[in-house]
Amino acid sequence: SSSHSLEKQFEGFRTQLEESGSLRERIRAVVSEIESTTRLTYASLLLVHQSRPTPELLEKAKSQIDVLKKHYEQLAEILREFPGQYYRYHGDWRSETQTVVSLLTFMHWLETGSLLTHREAAEKLGMDSSEFGLDVEDYLIGVCFMSNELPRYVVNQVTAGDYDCPRRVLRFLTDLHAAFRMLNLRNDFLRKKFDGMKYDLRRVEEVYYDVKIRGLTPNGELVGDQAVQGQS
């Protein structure tokens, strides 16, 4: 009967949805591990605001990256069983991955002063295969999150006596902001985050201004004054 065939179709739906549900549970278990590792790493990295010696902190944090990478490999493995469904479950690890990216890029910046690229980030996480890649938007959002850390970092570094820090951060952030402007962003989450970067930039400019107007220089001498005048 009609009612019976209805029942049968829905029976099938239920089976499929339950399968998808249990897949999701497996994903979530891994994601929760990622989240917890990230949190721990972030917590110890945040000691940079207290001006603890950075290399040590970075060393400790780096050791966690491999743990993260292993988790992402587990994720990749799970999804390999369901080809073409990466984006069906993407929402389950998006936000955690964005935080991971912000962590990685912040660490990289502390070490090198430059921006970790998408490819490099993906490699570090083992997300560089075509089936299980690092979503570009997630990478970019993570970079925005990283930018949010910088004003606080600058403020605390100056308090700790590093008067050259604002200049370095301002240059980096200005370049980063300019690079972002090359992107044609839709009216979405990434756009909103990028709009927020403007405030980071403004805050760093203010800190730089505070240091500059008081003539505070890295070595107690008028370093680079001519350069500044040359630029104006």
Binding site: L17, H90, S114, L176, M182
Partner: protein, 253 residues
């Protein structure tokens, strides 16, 4: 320190190169999404017209109306769904789902609505997907409407069925209304078992509430006709409660 300056410039230009790639990627994605959204919007608009067409039904013109609605639906499939299918081909269907989901849902609503009016049964997901198959390039993976969009479309269907039922009762087509009532109850019941397993059930839960309201509106309408009809049985001396409404000569109007 010129070397430092040089290094920074290198860094900066490396960043720009990287971002140029991201920009390229995002532009391509956004343009595709934009096209898909537009296609989806057209599907929505034209599916709504099909639904409106079905609502123009009266007791006397049912066949013509449904026939016309089916023609309209075929046109939607051929003209608009095919465009959507083309835009999507070869792409990851899940990635752009949010861009085309509204259109697909409305299409499901229209297709199942037509089908119910014609056959009194539920058009299955596989059947819909079968009609979409010829639209895509055989070398590529065809677009399949996913379960979620199908179920979301069904949820909206019950609202239209409710409107239809009220209209049918007005037209004296009690049996038709009772069929709708049964059908909607079945769908509602089946959905209660499936919804908790859906990926993102938050908006579906709200639709379930609306659906229960629709079911009850139909039930109340049937009740109302029933008690009214029962009252007249002694007056009319008839034994078939449904006959009284149909029995009123409409020509008088």
């Amino acid at each position: 320190n010129p070397s430092k300056r040089a290094r920074t410039m290198v860094t900066e230009s490396a960043m720009r190169d990287a971002f140029a790639k991201y920009a390229e990627y995002l532009n391509a994605l956004n343009e595709k999404r934009e096209r898909v959204v537009k296609a989806s919007r057209d599907v929505t608009m034209n599916s709504k017209k099909v639904i409106f067409q079905v609502h123009r039904m009266s007791k006397y013109n049912k066949e013509e109306i449904i026939e016309q609605a089916e023609k309209d639906l075929t046109a939607v499939t051929d003209q608009y769904m095919s465009r959507l299918v083309k835009e999507l081909q070869g792409t990851d269907f899940w990635k752009l789902r949010r861009a085309y989901s509204p259109g697909v849902q409305e299409y499901v609503e229209a297709a199942t609505f037509c089908n119910f009016c014609k056959t009194g049964t539920l058009l299955k997901l596989d059947e819909i997907n079968a009609t979409l198959l010829p639209l895509s390039d055989p070398s590529l993976e065809p677009l399949k409407i996913n379960i979620l969009d199908y179920l979301l479309g069904l949820a909206d269907l019950t609202g239209e069925l409710m409107r239809l039922a009220i209209g049918r009762i007005s037209d004296g087509e009690l049996d038709f209304a009772e069929n709708i009532c049964r059908f909607v109850r079945d769908i509602y019941r089946e959905l209660t078992l499936v919804v908790p397993h859906m990926d993102d059930s938050s908006d579906m839960k709200q639709k379930m509430d609306t659906m229960l309201q629709s079911v009850m509106k139909i039930e109340n309408a049937c009740f109302s006709v029933h008690v009214r009809g029962s009252e007249y049985i002694p007056l009319l001396g008839s034994n078939d409660p449904s006959s009284f409404l149909v029995g009123v000569p409409d020509i008088e109007l």
